[in-house]
């Protein structure tokens, strides 16, 4: 393979890495740093094109440690889309901010890390990508350097380090058992016959990824970090970084540890059920919108985890493959949809916080500040409305399509109890989403109309386009998700 071949496969990663480094250098010399944001937007747009254009024929490169396939490209699209929306919103948020070059650099580096994870077929490269993304986001969580930022970042850092340690310990056990770090070779090594140590390895791997995915009981850091971090960073964490946990778990559990299917299937059935129920129940009581959305994000991790359960339950059934493919495709669609709608709601929350701070209010994320938002900031309110309906699974939106395919596949796999629970949870979640909507449109405004910053508006419109695009034209995305799902199952 010559250099140009690599370029066509990893052009996007190379471009973003180069851009991130370039921005650091530029930041030293430039007086008007606002240009850097536009440069990042352009870089992300080009890399999105490169990802879509890449040949998806499962090319293994770098001695088989990385692979370009439908799954990796699917996740890279999700990551780049989230980063793009966050960067666009950042154009307004960090305009004339002295450290804005660092914001964009860290975001881009985190994105590269997540993209490496999406492509990894080896535990070592997966871990490196994971850590690159994590380290960058630790710094981002403290970016505004306010007290609650620092607290959020500290908490995130400690929990993140512990989870990395657990994960790494799990990996080391896997390596010790099988003598290889390659995901496909571990799968072929016959883990099922290696005794109870495999279970310990499994436990540590699930715990390690569980932190990133924010599955109950590994979710404790998420609400605090999401609430305390700068809102745009929260959007990135909830919509992007969390999905990195999912792609890593898909690869390690569904491919490498498929022999232990019965074990993780049970574990995820319980985790999914508890996570969505607890996430929704706690979200109902929140008055801080960011915290409410953080718990809704936890609940979503529970929904998406149903995909693991479906894959586990499908094995041995008559149409096992098509059921598992449905389940995974549903999970992937929900991941894609959640990326857009969660970014959308958090960007909207950022607008409200901006507005509340401008009015000199305490607790900028309190639900009281959403009163009359439909009048005060009509575009923000409308985008948030659609994203909230989408989160609740009301058609025709991305959330509906994802839940529809995923919950349907659970029924197909014979997991009627889990599907029932998920559907009831979905109805339960409607309550707190409707509460925000009620504040936005029913309650009387507490202040005058505000001019919504252009960057935020553009970011919201992009998120809205994603949510409605998937809702109205599901076919394209369903196909993408099925192709990605097949990579994991074949």
């Amino acid at each position: 393979m010559i250099f140009s071949d690599y370029l066509s496969l990893f052009g996007a990663e190379a471009l973003l890495t180069g851009l991130a480094l370039l921005i650091i250098v530029l930041g030293l010399f430039m007086k008007n740093k606002n240009l850097i944001g536009y440069l990042s937007v352009a870089g992300l747009a080009v890399s999105m094109y490169l990802v879509m254009a890449a040949d998806q024929t499962r090319d293994a490169v770098f001695y088989g440690t990385m692979q370009i396939d439908a799954l990796s490209q699917f996740f890279k699209l999700v990551f780049i889309a989230v980063t793009l929306i966050v960067v666009i919103a950042g154009l307004s948020r960090y305009k004339n901010h002295p450290g804005q070059d660092e914001f964009y650099t860290l975001l881009l580096l985190a994105t590269v890390g997540m993209m490496v994870v999406a492509s990894s077929m080896d535990l070592i490269s997966l871990f490196i990508g994971f850590e690159l993304a994590s380290l960058a986001t630790y710094a981002l969580a403290a970016f505004d350097r306010e007290k609650q930022n620092l607290e959020a970042a500290m908490k995130y850092f400690i929990f993140g380090s512990v989870s990395s340690a657990l994960m790494l310990f799990g990996f080391s056990l896997l390596y010790g058992l099988t003598g290889t770090t390659m995901i496909t070779e571990i799968a072929a090594a016959g883990l099922a016959d290696m005794g109870p140590v495999t279970l310990i390895a499994l436990l540590f791997v699930i715990a390690g990824f569980g932190f990133k995915m924010a599955l109950v009981p590994f979710h404790m850091w998420a609400p605090d970090t999401y609430t305390g971090a700068p809102t745009l960073v929260t959007a990135f964490l909830a919509a992007g970084s969390k999905k990195m946990g999912f792609v890593a778990a898909f690869k390690v559990l569904l491919i490498a540890m498929i022999a232990l299917r019965m074990e993780w299937y049970m574990a995820f059935a319980i985790l999914a059920a508890i996570t969505m129920t607890l996430g929704n129940l706690v979200a109902i009581w929140q008055n801080n919108v960011k915290r409410m959305l953080a718990y809704s994000s936890v609940a979503y991790a529970g929904y998406i985890a149903i995909a693991f359960v479906v894959v586990g339950a499908a094995a041995g059934q008559v149409d096992g493959f098509s059921i598992a493919a449905n389940g995974l495709a549903g999970g992937l669609l929900l991941i894609l949809g959640h990326a857009f709608m969660k970014t959308g709601v958090f960007v909207a929350a950022a607008v409200v916080a901006y507005m509340a701070l401008r009015d000199g209010k305490e607790n900028p994320d309190d639900i009281e500040h959403y009163a009359g938002l439909g009048h005060r900031a009509p575009i923000t309110a409308f985008c948030m409305l659609i994203c909230l309906f989408s989160l609740a699974g009301i058609p025709p939106t991305a959330g509906f399509v994802g839940k529809f395919v995923l919950f349907g596949s659970a029924i197909d796999a014979g997991l009627v109890w889990l599907a029932m629970l998920a559907i009831l949870n979905s109805a339960l979640s409607l309550y707190y989403y409707l509460r925000i909507i009620k504040y936005m449109y029913v309650n009387e405004p507490t202040g005058g109309k505000i001019s919504e910053p252009k960057g935020y508006v553009l970011a919201l419109v992009v998120a809205l386009a994603g949510v409605l695009g998937i809702g109205f034209f599901p076919q394209v995305f369903v196909d993408l998700a099925y192709r990605a799902a097949e990579v994991l199952l074949l």
């Binding site: 309906f389 009301i394 058609p395 025709p396 509906f400 529809f404 395919v405 919950f407 349907g408 029924i411 197909d412 009627v416 599907a419 029932m420 559907i423 009831l424 979905s426 109805a427 409607l430 309550y431 409707l434 509460r435 009620k438 449109y441 029913v442 599901p474 076919q475 369903v478 196909d479 099925y482």
Partner: protein, 503 residues
């Protein structure tokens, strides 16, 4: 001849809703709303004229692939079950716009939501793909949530959220049943489909659907529709929603949204009924009778005239359930006509309650009296509607209820007699009592300076009253279609679109 009339009826109000939302003044918003609901009315009238009234096949069918890999198609069409309801929806929608002509609070949003409602209900009555059907079914909730939440009464928050969550949960239960249908049936080519008629037809194949599975599916679907109708004991969201909703919202809720439940019975439930346990027939009949009686008694005990009208809806929709459960040609036909007739009558009842509220300032029956003295035109219209609602011969309510009861006597004589002896008197009682107390008798001093309501309110009500009389004298106009539809429902089996040769 218009090509794609149904899609136009869905798209035009949708576009009009967006335009109305963007308008700046009330004048612009209401003109847009008027045009946006006038065009669908014209299209539906044209469709009604072209409709082949003797045919059992789907007409005006359009079908396009939407999500082929999931077997989802955009398929719409009408037959004898859907056509009268589409007509009803377009008639009611425009008259509601006329009635609400003077809306002052956020008129652009108000009219946009009315139009969005029209989109949803027409979609429900014409969709022939479960995916599409479910989407429209859910879309309807959104404008109604805002109509109650923004323009509602003192407890609007509670009522709006209760309405949304209660009916959403029921829809989700229905969705579970739809999933079960979808995943059990495979097309001859091995794929999946959401096509309603295909799936409903497939339920008659007992090798595919075990009795246990089919009974569960049936129960889920039935629950979804009963909550919407609403039937006792799932009616508790209705009084709250009605009492708090603005008049236009109540009118649409009662006249159109409740009909979605009844439509579901005829379209989905009844074709499956012969294949499920007989107990369900008894269950439906009992729920129907209980709804009629309990609704009537609750109406009798209400202090608020709007709440009384709301409970009368529960009572009247019970006839639909009774007629469907009785499963004879006449009763089913009557139940279909009851849907249509109640749709017209209840509009005027809720408009009356709304007009009383904003002229007299209260809806509490005991605080009103002698309004007819100062509001003679309004009194006439309200009286006509109340008479139609209690089943006065010559108006459409009589025809519908008579047909239901005559038809159901054949298979469910005991239940029918209970209704005749227990329900009808009470129904007459609460209508007459409320009418007498509110409109007649000596006028109270505080109401001396009242006068007739705005001409647009009277216009809207008079058109509806004329329609009530017209369909009371000449019910055959729509009942012929319903007769054919009822025959098709009773005799079965369901034909798929391909078997009908329409796609």
């Amino acid at each position: 001849m218009i090509s794609n009339p149904i899609s136009l009826m869905i798209v035009i109000p949708l576009i009009a809703a967006v335009v109305a939302f963007m308008t700046k003044t009330r004048g612009q918003a209401r003109i847009v709303a008027l045009i946006g609901s006038l065009i669908p009315l014209a299209i539906s009238l044209q469709m009604f004229l072209e409709f082949d009234k003797t045919s059992k096949i789907m007409q005006f069918v359009e079908s396009y692939d939407w999500v082929p890999s999931l077997g989802v198609k955009y398929t719409v069409g009408v037959d004898g079950i859907g056509m009268p309801l589409v007509l009803l929806s377009t008639i009611v929608s425009i008259l509601v716009v006329v009635y609400a002509w003077g809306e002052n609070t956020k008129p652009n949003q108000f009219f946009a939501l009315l139009l969005l409602n029209e989109v949803g209900v027409i979609g429900v009555f014409t969709a022939l793909d479960f995916f599409l059907f479910y989407i429209f079914w859910e879309i309807v909730l959104i404008p109604m949530f805002f109509l109650i939440g923004i323009w509602g009464g003192p407890r609007k928050d509670y009522a709006a959220i209760k309405f949304f969550i209660y009916t959403h949960v029921a829809s989700l239960v229905m969705l579970l049943s739809i999933f079960a249908l979808y995943f059990t049936y495979r097309t001859p080519a091995g794929g999946r489909t959401f096509d309603m008629l295909t799936l409903i037809q497939a339920t008659s194949d007992s090798t595919l659907f075990s009795p246990m599975l089919l009974n569960l599916i049936f129960l889920g679907l039935l629950l979804g529709f009963l909550v919407k109708m609403p039937a006792v004991p799932f009616h508790t969201w209705l009084p709250d929603a009605h009492v708090e909703a603005p008049t236009a919202g109540s009118v649409i809720l009662a006249a159109l949204l409740l009909k979605m439940g009844g439509y579901g019975l005829f379209r989905v439930i009844m074709p499956i009924m012969p294949n499920v346990s007989d107990h369900y027939v008894t269950l439906m009949a009992i729920i129907g009778v209980v709804s009629i009686l309990y609704g009537a008694f609750l109406a009798l005990s209400q202090k608020d005239i709007k709440k009384m009208v709301a409970y009368s809806s529960v009572s009247h929709m019970g006839y639909v359930l009774l007629g469907a459960g009785a499963f004879t040609w006449l009763s089913v036909q009557g139940a279909m006509f009851q849907q249509f007739s109640h749709g017209l009558i209840t509009c005027v009842l809720f408009m009356s309650a709304g007009t009383i509220q904003h002229t007299a300032g209260t809806r509490i029956i005991s605080e009103l009296g002698g309004l007819a003295d100062r509001m003679p035109k309004f009194a006439v219209l309200m009286l006509m509607a109340f008479m139609a609602s209690l089943g006065l011969p010559g108006m459409c309510g009589f025809v519908a209820e008579l047909t239901v009861l005559t038809g159901s006597y054949e298979t469910l004589p005991v239940y029918t007699l209970i209704v005749i002896f227990g329900g009808i008197v009470v129904t007459a009682g609460y209508h007459l009592w409320a009418m007498q107390k509110v409109m007649f008798g000596p006028i109270l001093k505080k109401y001396l300076d009242l006068h007739d309501p705005h001409s647009y309110e009277l216009l809207s009500m008079s058109v509806l009253v004329l329609l009530m009389i017209y369909f009371g004298v000449n019910p055959a106009m729509v009942m012929d279609i319903m007769g054919v539809a009822a025959e098709q429902v009773i005799e079965g089996p369901v034909m798929t679109l391909a078997q009908m040769g329409v796609i």
